[in-house]
Subunit: 296 residues, 2 copies
DNA sequence: TCGATTGATGCCTTCTTGTTATCACCGGGT
DNA sequence: ACCCGGTGATAACAAGAAGGCATCAATCGA
């Protein structure tokens, strides 16, 4: 069975007009060629598709079934071609994105939402991971792009800042300092600290240590948790305080107060990071999107 | 865009082997022809589907997308051809069937079940109607085949008996006659009768009148209902009795007793009835089925 | 560095596809 | 009753596309 699309197009034209001459005209074709094409098709299928009364043409029941099938077949072909073109231009495919607590608390959700609206045919696969973990995942191509905490020291990685957070103090609501509109960093010198575990938060822990050192103290760590939610939970349990980023303001948790941190102007930058993107790839689409449609 | 299936077949062959020479061999084709075919396809699509390293061939992401699309496209084409063939042989299509109370209480459900298993691609459309109504529907082609109560007096209609029922007495459970294992017909002579309305049951009413007349009485009708369920409902309400067919045994209704009717050997025949079926039609399939796979 | 293997290219052949001219058939108008 | 306009089918021929053969350039492995 070596049916060709030409024959199907011919058949559809005839099925539409129920008139060989007009159908041939629509196909920019002489009528005899059309007659033979249809005959061949019928022979190849082993099915008579049209009933010719030498005066009027009508579809047989089988012809009607075949017409419906061919109709959606042609639609599917167009769709397939369209998708291939989209895939080539990077508008269709899969994109694996890594993210940190800070990114997902900050600009990332909005970015993703807008990107998915702009490119609905791109499947996004999200993976949580520390900055260190994500840079490794980038290297072995487990993810296409990472949202990590600066600085990024890796070769062949391009970065683009997408978020800049000031520090905030996070306290139990009942804590005396929670009465103030702003907490000075040195007021926290003697407080018990709750921070993220080294395995996942080493990057931020370095920033935090540096910040406290500048303020003249080293934080007394009494508890560690795996993520922001865990840290906040321990704080609401009155176990201590922490210094976090203003993006945490998106977390609403009863029993926890967030206050601007005075005595420092330092900020933490979250950046997108990726290996060189080949032109026309899904990744390059995403990077373009990040650069042209930045913070919203 | 005048892509041909030949090109798609060629592309699929290459996508499978990732080797032009072997693919060409599979297609019973020289390698250069294949190269040109694929080039043409890529040009027509405006998409590069394959990455040739002059040493190894691999699919581009777009090529992968296109391959998947083409794969299901070819499947759909085969399926469409298969369906057309089925439609031609009457194994696919729509069949409108009419039925009476007696038919649906008797053999029809079993017949339909077995037919649908044998021909799963035939849509069956069922319509309830009296014998009279169904013969009219046959005439105007609203139904393809009818299951009616004999006799059938209509021109150009073929009939095939499918069911033969003896009469039964139907009584309230509390009725004295319900104590007996069998009820004699003349014992019902003075009982109040509940029967179907003339508009729908005229055919059976004639049979019933003839039966009673032979037994020497004319039934005293006190209530009429539209269908068997209605009749049985009124009987369970102790409003009277009726003479029905043994197929009604399939109805289980508390408060109603069904007993063989003595004093007569008459039967009522239910038959399939249809207009001449053109060969290869869905109807002819069904008729063949009825004749070869009868009562089971 | 050389040989083997890959896909691409140029040229020619072949066969499919399409065109023109014509036929047989049917319906409607005169 | 007849003819004319329109239908799809057929035959012979022309055009073009698809395929085959010989060969090239690039790459990999020994």
């Amino acid at each position: 069975m070596k049916i060709e699309l030409r024959q199907i197009r011919q058949f559809l034209a005839v099925a539409e007009t129920l008139n060989f001459r007009r159908a041939a005209e629509n196909l920019a074709l002489a009528q005899p060629a059309l007659s033979r094409g249809i005959q061949l098709l019928e022979h190849q299928l082993g099915v008579s598709l049209l009933k010719r009364n030498n005066r009027r043409v009508e579809l047989t029941p089988a012809g009607e079934v075949f017409r419906n099938g061919c109709y959606s077949l042609m639609k599917d072909l167009e769709e397939t071609a369209r998708k291939a073109r989209k895939a080539q231009s990077g508008e269709l495919g899969r994109l694996a994105i890594g993210y940190t607590d800070f990114a997902i608390s900050g600009v990332l959700p909005g970015v993703l939402d807008r990107f998915r609206r702009a490119f609905p045919d791109i499947d996004i696969e999200l993976t949580y991971g520390s900055t260190r973990q994500q840079l490794d995942d980038l290297a072995i191509r487990r993810i296409d792009i990472a949202f990590v905490t600066k600085p990024v020291d890796a070769f062949g990685i391009t970065t683009l800042p997408v978020q800049r957070d000031r520090f905030v103090a996070v306290l139990p609501s009942a804590h005396p300092l929670a009465q103030l509109a702003q907490v000075e960093i040195r007021d926290l010198a003697d407080e018990p600290f709750i921070v993220g575990v080294m395995a996942r938060w080493s990057h931020y822990r370095r920033h935090l240590d540096a910040l406290c050192l500048k303020a003249g103290f080293s934080p007394r760590i009494v508890q560690e948790a795996y993520n922001t939610e865990g840290i906040f939970g321990l704080i609401s349990a009155n176990m201590g305080v922490t210094i976090h980023l203003e993006c945490a303001a998106n977390y609403v948790r009863s029993g926890v107060a967030i206050r601007p941190l005075g005595g420092t102007d330092d900020t933490i930058v979250t950046a997108a990071a990726w290996r060189p993107a080949e032109p026309g790839s899904v990744l390059s689409r995403f990077v373009d999107f990040l650069q042209t449609v930045p913070a919203e």
